[in-house]
């Protein structure tokens, strides 16, 4: 049992506040991904859980035990570092077996576990080498193997696949997901790659400027962003936004077009994903600016009353720049945001 509870954690570096009162519960054996732009505090939060950074405020609990005063070794965690931290004076074998040797595990058991994890990470031919003789991607895999070999209750991974090429990354991603699903490990995984986040996570915590703005399943984060930031961060390309003015009870005027919406009485923002648009006879009028054929789809960047507006269309369509298009948004995919609070409005 290794449920992780983060209670009201704040972190200040001098006057700079890196984390603002974070509350998060990660259930036992859950795969939680921390997703956010560079510098938003992902590593800092991970390091606080690992015990490498002391929080300015708040508590960390793992498995019903308060651990924020314990040294890293007594927290039942293993960590994969953003910049590998593979020991240069040890071979790959001894690196992977380092934690096991610290536990005074018998030799044959160490060998068995090291060989198994090395195989998993496709580095079994490299076990005799030193870190200076490895490529960045190979080092990264050693770092992951070293953490996996510990078979910890909690594994913390800070962008563990960032240095692999696209193909290997895809493969290791699936591998990692499989391994962790089989084990009883609770995982926290830091990334700024949203595809990786979507594919791995049971739940995604989207971070922004030291806050967790939404913690939910990948589909929920994608479909129902809790804040405008999430909507503008998740999705490639992200959601389109247009200003909307209330006309009367639940009726909204968006770019001169009448739409059904929430029954609020102030200006809101209308939001729709680029793939949730259909070419129709009536709807939002847009002028195509840039047309990018992406193979499976056609990405068209347009202007709707001067606002940038993107649409992902069927690749069979022929669209020329300058052409005027009319889009009908899928009614159940439309979302509304309050520009003052940035929150979603139902």
């Amino acid at each position: 049992m290794a449920e992780i509870q983060i209670k009201n954690i704040a972190k200040r570096f001098g006057t700079y506040q890196a984390l603002h009162n974070i509350d998060l519960t990660i259930s036992d054996q859950e795969f939680m991904v921390l997703l956010g732009a560079s510098g938003c505090g992902k590593s800092t939060l991970l390091r606080i859980i690992a015990g490498l950074e002391t929080p300015s405020e708040g508590e960390v609990w793992i498995g019903g035990r308060r651990i924020d005063h314990l040294p890293p070794k007594d927290r039942g965690i293993a960590m994969v570092f953003q910049n590998y931290a593979v020991f240069p004076h040890l071979t790959v074998f001894e690196n992977i077996g380092f934690g096991l040797r610290m536990q005074k595990m018998p030799n044959d058991e160490v060998t068995r576990r090291v060989e198994r994890t090395a195989e998993l990470m496709h580095i079994e031919q490299l076990t005799g080498r030193y870190s200076g003789e490895l490529s960045g991607g190979q080092r990264q895999r050693v770092a992951v193997a070293r953490a996996l070999a510990m078979e910890p209750d909690v594994i913390l991974m800070d962008e563990p696949l960032s240095n692999l090429d696209a193909l290997l990354r895809l493969e290791m991603r699936a591998e990692l997901k499989g391994v962790l699903a089989e084990s009883n490990t609770t995982a926290i995984y830091v990334t700024h790659d949203q595809v990786e986040a979507m594919s791995l996570a049971d739940r995604i915590s989207v971070m922004h400027e030291g806050r967790i703005v939404q913690a939910a399943t990948p589909v929920e984060v994608y479909r129902n962003p809790a804040e405008r930031f999430v909507a503008s961060f998740i999705g490639n390309p992200p959601m389109n936004f247009l200003p909307a003015t209330p006309v009367k009870g639940g009726q909204w005027s968006v770019a001169g077009q009448m739409m059904d919406g929430p029954s609020a009485n102030k200006a809101l923002e209308f939001a729709i994903r680029p793939e949730d648009l259909k070419i129709a006879d009536s709807g939002l009028t847009a002028v195509a600016k840039v047309v990018e054929p992406l193979g499976a789809h056609l990405l068209v960047t347009c202007a709707v009353e001067g606002h940038q507006f993107r649409a992902v269309l069927d690749s069979d369509l022929v669209v020329k720049p300058g052409e005027t298009l009319t889009f009908a948004p899928l009614a159940d995919r439309v979302r509304w945001f309050d520009p003052d609070t940035q929150k979603a409005v139902a």
């Binding site: 690992a50 015990g51 490498l52 040294p71 890293p72 070794k73 965690i77 293993a78 960590m79 570092f81 910049n83 590998y84 931290a85 020991f87 240069p88 004076h89 380092f98 934690g99 610290m102 536990q103 770092a143 070293r146 510990m150």
Partner: protein, 279 residues
């Protein structure tokens, strides 16, 4: 005139530059190596040959001078004192200097910059200025004319270097390596012994040897603070006017060679101390 400029061609300045460069290298090498060579010749020649004129340019490989050196009264004791003082200096400056270097590279504390400056400033006081008060203090505490007392002074001379060298060594080891060790079951201490120590061992050895050489070569404090228990440098200085030429040569040789070999062996780390990146 015009022909000359044509002849010179576009690469002539480079040729001239190369010539100057080679000449400078040869000159510098000669500057260092020629005296050493003469030292070698005269050490490995018989006393008669050393005192004769004209000088020889190849050594005789006669151990007469060295035997005389070894047999000279008090010389072996002085040699032993030198080694002893240097060894104690080495141990003390590393046991004090290395933790200070570690603290400087790993911990953030108030006045860190000032502390670094102070370490360098200890080198700003000329030893002659300190010699008299030191001698008085040593006589009061009974440390005068002891191997340990002299080693204390040499340690203060060597510590700044020990701190700076180890500081740069520790800084060269990413903190993540230690952090990784902590998450893998190490305490601060075991992370140090299992990860940091093996990585800095060569550098520590280098800085220890450097401390040894500083003490080995030091003459002023040795001459002022000891009478009976002289080190080799002080002993040779004391007998400078009375001792025969071949003794001076042999003594000089015995002093120079270990220092030279040691410094050569650890040159990489001395560069590191000055922040010169070495590949």
């Amino acid at each position: 005139m015009s022909e000359a400029t044509v002849d010179a061609g576009p690469d002539d300045p480079r040729k001239a530059g190369k010539f100057v460069y080679i000449a400078a290298v040869v000159l510098l090498c000669a500057w260092v190596l020629v005296p050493l060579y003469f030292l070698l010749i005269n050490t490995l020649s018989s006393p008669e040959a050393v005192n004769a004129f004209p000088k020889r340019f190849v050594p005789e490989f006669d151990l007469g001078s060295l035997t005389f050196f070894a047999g000279f009264e008090g010389m072996l004791v002085a040699l032993k004192n030198s080694i002893l003082v240097a060894a104690i200096t080495m141990v003390m400056s590393i046991t004090i200097g290395a933790p200070a270097g570690y603290a400087l590279s790993r911990f953030d504390f108030k006045g860190k910059g000032l502390f670094r400056l102070l370490i360098l400033l200890t080198r700003a006081f000329p030893l002659p200025l300190l010699a008299l008060p030191l001698a008085v203090m040593f006589i009061r505490t009974g440390l005068d004319d002891t191997v340990f007392g002299l080693a204390l002074v040499h340690t203060t001379l060597a510590i700044p270097f020990a701190v700076l060298i180890t500081f740069s060594l520790f800084s060269g080891i990413p903190i993540e390596l230690e952090e990784a060790a902590w998450t893998l079951g190490c305490t601060r201490l075991t992370a140090f012994t299992k990860v940091v120590f093996p990585l800095i061992l060569p550098g520590i050895t280098a800085s220890a040897i450097f401390a040894f050489v500083i003490s080995w070569n030091e003459v002023f404090a040795a001459a002022v603070l000891t009478i009976e228990n002289r080190t080799l440098t002080a002993f040779l200085l004391q007998n400078l006017d009375t001792s025969p030429l071949h003794l001076k040569f042999a003594g000089g040789f015995i002093l120079v060679v270990p220092a030279l070999i040691f410094i050569f062996a650890v040159r990489k780390y001395l560069f590191a101390m000055w922040g010169i990146a070495n590949r």
